[in-house]
């Protein structure tokens, strides 16, 4: 089931969702077997920002019926730390590397895109736009004009594929996708997490250190499918579909709705090799049905 995506040849259509698999940490936990049986056809990094971030205070997790709320808060070493420590290690992975970046202004995103754009180890960039632009106050990924302005700024900085990771917490996601396509994005990915919250039953106060968080897992699957389907009607560029994928059947649903690649997120927490399982279940289903 090899697949072509923005000029990359992938051995199957299953990749990881940003922030849900740390290949370096997994290498420490699972040793060489991780590399021998690497579960994803491309590896997507956790979001990298310009400056290092500690992330949100714990607790950072709340379990739901069929899902999870996280308020991790994008901890990362920052651009410099990533280039120095992570990039060399990730370059050794047997699959292409997609670096996910986020900035809180167009200039910040531009700096990140420019820096990664010139690194041969990086196959493609994913822009996480689930963040307000500090200059305009608007959520970058919720407003078509804002997205177009961002792409206008960063598109000229690299010839590598640019994937825009859309936020699902928006009125008109297809319009944002269309704007991204119009301004030169090579692909879109969705869905990111839905805004959610939990209270500590004992105190009645917000459980999560970050107060609110993002919902992922089975609980968001139907929403993801609807959004991928709607975006597929709106754009011609390829789509990376994700949200609650736990089986080959879930992946097939997203592909039937229009996704070229499918990303596995939360399910990897329940089954570290979920990517492999989903890919093989998908191959089996695809053999028995027309995708």
């Amino acid at each position: 089931m090899s697949v072509e995506f923005c000029g990359l040849e992938l051995v199957h259509p299953i990749i990881n969702a940003s922030g849900t698999f740390d290949a370096i940490a997994a290498g420490r936990a699972f040793g060489e077997e991780l590399i021998e049986r690497f579960p994803f056809a491309a590896f997507v990094s956790k979001t990298v920002t310009l400056q290092p971030r500690q992330g949100n205070p714990p607790p950072r997790l709340w379990e739901l019926a069929g899902g999870l709320i996280n308020s991790i808060g994008l901890p990362n070493q920052g651009l410099r730390g990533y280039l120095q420590h992570d990039l060399p290690e990730l370059a050794r992975l047997p699959v292409p590397l997609i670096v996910n970046v986020m900035g809180s202004s167009r200039d910040q995103v531009a700096e990140l895109v420019a820096a990664f754009g010139e690194r041969a180890e990086v196959a493609a960039l994913e822009l996480n736009v689930s963040c307000p632009n500090v200059e305009t106050g608007l959520l970058m990924g919720a407003d078509p004009a804002e997205i177009a302005a961002l792409l206008d700024r960063v598109r000229p900085l690299t010839s590598k594929p640019l994937i825009v990771k859309l936020t699902p917490n928006a009125t008109d996601v297809p319009a944002v996708a269309r704007a991204a396509q119009g301004a030169g994005a090579d692909a879109v990915s969705l869905i990111n997490t839905l805004r959610g919250m939990a209270l500590d039953p004992r105190t009645g106060r917000p459980w999560l250190g970050g107060v609110t968080g993002g919902v992922s897992g089975a609980a968001v699957r139907a929403v993801a499918l609807a959004q991928v389907h709607a975006v597929a009607q709106a754009v011609e560029i390829p789509i990376v579909g994700m949200g609650g994928v736990a089986s080959g059947a879930d992946a097939l649903d997203l592909m039937r709705a229009g996704a070229t690649l499918v990303a596995v997120g939360t399910e990897s927490f329940r089954d570290p090799a979920a990517g492999l399982r989903v890919a093989s279940e998908l191959a089996e289903l695809a053999a028995n049905s027309a995708v």
Partner: protein, 274 residues
């Protein structure tokens, strides 16, 4: 670092037996071909059937458990876990019958390090926190002293899992009437310069152990807990504050040197206090 790498992915392990031990349950699972864990390492566990759903809806994620003991040797070792029923996940695990399947990932995390030159181990456990100390005592020597604190007599039955144990109970029904840190204080007063402390237990106890050891300038390795989604560094959900900032407990721990911890805050956000 004391770490045995895990086979990649989640594997099925058959339950061989379940035993009730006072307030606790011990489940034994056969793990053919599984690696030998280091004492202090843990596994992510979930039942293969009936994990979630029903009125309570949860659990959805696997749960972390220290390995209590490994009996037999490769290629057909048996893993033991000591479980206290505190919520939907532990409840389901405590119900597992012989023949049912457990899905497990592990061993994970870093276990205990040998005592520093010139020091002998002193084990300090609270409640279900005795689990990693039992396998550590198996490796060190059955004569390694253990100070164990429990709520009451029903819980103190757990002390039977270890050798050479001094027990304290909150209600005085067994052993010393008071906290296990009273016993620790005595020991450190008497011979602190010969000891390295290994502790696991509820947050308040660990913080008291940490403070006591700092006060006596005795090195301590603490096995912490925090809410975990994955157990292998993927989610960044399990962080605890250290002198180096937040670290992922599943990756850098669960055993951390007391010096790396920044006081009570390190134990505050665990989410899973027993």
């Amino acid at each position: 670092m004391s770490r045995s790498p895990a086979p990649f992915g989640r594997r099925a392990a058959k339950i061989v037996a379940r035993e009730t031990l006072g307030a606790y349950v011990v489940i034994r699972a056969s793990d053919p071909g599984g690696p030998v864990p280091r004492p202090g390492q843990f596994y992510m566990l979930q039942a293969a059937e009936r994990w979630g759903g029903g009125e309570g809806e949860r659990p959805f994620l696997p749960r972390a458990f220290s390995v209590l003991r490994m009996i037999g040797s490769p290629p057909t070792p048996e893993l033991h876990f000591l479980i206290e029923d505190v919520g939907p996940g532990t409840n389901r695990l405590c119900e597992l019958e012989a023949g049912e399947e457990l899905l497990l990932v592990g061993p994970l995390g870093n276990g205990f390090e040998a005592p520093r030159e010139g020091r002998g181990a002193l084990l300090v456990g609270g409640g279900v926190g005795i689990a990693p100390l039992a396998i550590w005592q198996d490796e060190l020597d059955a004569s390694t002293p253990a100070l164990l604190g429990f709520r009451d007599a029903e819980h103190a039955v757990g002390a039977g899992l270890m050798a050479n144990a001094s027990v304290a109970t909150d209600d005085g029904s067994v052993g010393h009437h008071g906290l296990v840190t009273d016993l620790l204080e005595e020991q450190l007063d008497a011979r602190g310069d010969e000891l390295e402390v290994y502790a696991c237990g509820p947050p308040a106890m660990l913080e008291a152990v940490r403070a006591t050891c700092v006060r006596h300038a005795v090195p301590a390795q603490l096995a912490l807990e925090s809410g975990m989604a994955c157990g292998f560094g993927a989610c960044f959900g399990c962080v605890v504050p250290t002198v180096d900032g937040y670290v992922r407990l599943c990756l850098e721990g669960p055993v951390l040197d007391a010096e790396r911890l920044v006081g009570a805050a390190a134990f505050a956000g665990t989410g899973a206090g027993h």
